[in-house]
């Protein structure tokens, strides 16, 4: 039995299939793919249970709290998770581990992941979408917003990537 991981797809092939999937999404639903629509809806539900003030009637999360979790983007994200699970198992790449900066301790990795997520979660709300919902799905119909997001995304990523370079190499 061969247990080595199968090679990843060529980036242009992966991009082409992703583009066709995104095109199909527009034709079927009328909008693109997304991720943080689901995380925001879930955050509102959890946060509302713990601290009702965060979902007060006129607050940002208030409308999310009132709505059901039975929305398209939640099902799409469940599909994403199943797809990634299936692909990693099929490609023999599934491996339970704490990934992250190779030389950092477990606590540092977890701390950086949480901090990175915090910036990402805040940013996605400010932009009304993340790299998928705004960067990808906004740019596909050639919206200025999509490309403005991508410029900020890559510029900040490169700048902070230089600062955190030592950690990741």
């Amino acid at each position: 039995m061969n247990n080595t991981a199968k090679p990843l797809w060529n980036p242009y092939v992966a991009g082409g299939i992703l583009g066709l999937g995104l095109l199909a999404t527009f034709l079927v639903t009328g909008h693109g793919l997304g991720v943080t629509g689901a995380t925001t809806a879930l955050t509102a539900k959890v946060s509302g249970q713990i601290a009702p003030g965060t979902v007060a009637p006129h607050s940002y999360l208030g409308t999310y709290f009132k709505h059901s979790l039975n929305i398209w983007v939640v099902w799409e994200v469940i599909g994403l998770m199943l797809g990634a699970l299936g692909a990693s198992l099929y490609g023999r790449r599934f491996k339970l581990k704490i990934d992250g900066p190779p030389h950092a301790s477990v606590m540092v990795r977890i701390g950086l992941a949480t901090l990175g997520g915090l910036f990402s979660g805040f940013g996605a709300r400010a932009a009304m979408g993340c790299a998928s919902g705004m960067g990808l799905s906004g740019s596909a119909p050639l919206a200025v917003a999509g490309f403005l997001f991508l410029i900020g995304f890559f510029a900040a990523g490169v700048l902070f990537g230089q600062i955190s370079k030592g950690l990741w190499s």
Binding site: P11, A126, A127, S132, A140
Partner: protein
């Protein structure tokens, strides 16, 4: 058939999400080192996958519109909220440099066995609550619209859609050519120049 179909049910979400997840994982987006390597110009996978996907979907949408199959006015095209869109892009970019993920790749990573991605997702929840708490202070700044509704690059640049698509394809082909074959660390001049050139061509 009239496009878009307007099918936003459970099966539509599951199937389209499944395709998304399979591609993300097979492209290697579940590996945080791969995404941070892009930010240091050691590995151009992230750029190539995203740009190819955008161009393929865009050519599809604009071709179908020209054929009268679907009208962009019936699809969701985001408007520009200058500070919100820019600050948001910066936030997600910092998140990627610090945590190794963006929201979508963190989910793909968690489901390929990476426990740290779960903490990134918890962080996303915390960042969402921080935004909620600051919303009364910053809401009117980040959600102030700039330009017309559903503003597109062809409108901004006063160019036909095909010309913008040709320009974007030229950027992808150029970057692809400069970063072809074996991924050795790019020369310093190139690594400083490329993203700037792209940014200039796009704006």
């Amino acid at each position: 058939m009239n496009f878009p179909l307007g099918n936003t049910g459970i099966l539509s979400g599951l199937v389209l999400g499944l395709i998304f997840g399979v591609v993300l994982e097979n492209a290697g987006f579940g590996t945080p080192c791969k995404t941070t390597a892009q930010l240091q110009f050691k590995d151009w996978t992230v750029f190539k996958v995203m740009f190819t996907a955008i161009i393929v979907a865009a050519i599809g949408l604009y071709t179908l519109q020209a054929l009268g199959v679907v009208a962009l006015s019936n699809l969701f095209v985001p408007s520009v909220y200058f500070w919100g869109t820019l600050i948001g892009g910066v936030g997600v970019g910092i998140g990627m440099a610090v945590g190794g993920y963006c929201p979508g790749t963190s989910m793909a990573s968690l489901f390929s066995g990476r426990i740290d991605a779960l903490f990134f997702l918890v962080g996303i929840g915390l960042g969402t609550i921080v935004f909620d708490l600051l919303y009364p202070l910053i809401g009117h700044i980040v959600y102030a619209q700039t330009g017309p509704d559903a503003w597109t690059l062809p409108q901004l640049l006063h160019l036909p859609g095909w010309a913008v698509l040709a320009l974007l394809t030229a950027v992808l082909v150029s970057v692809g050519y400069l970063t072809r074959a074996k991924q050795s660390p790019a020369s310093p001049s190139r690594s400083v120049e490329s993203p700037l050139t792209i940014a200039i061509k796009q704006s």
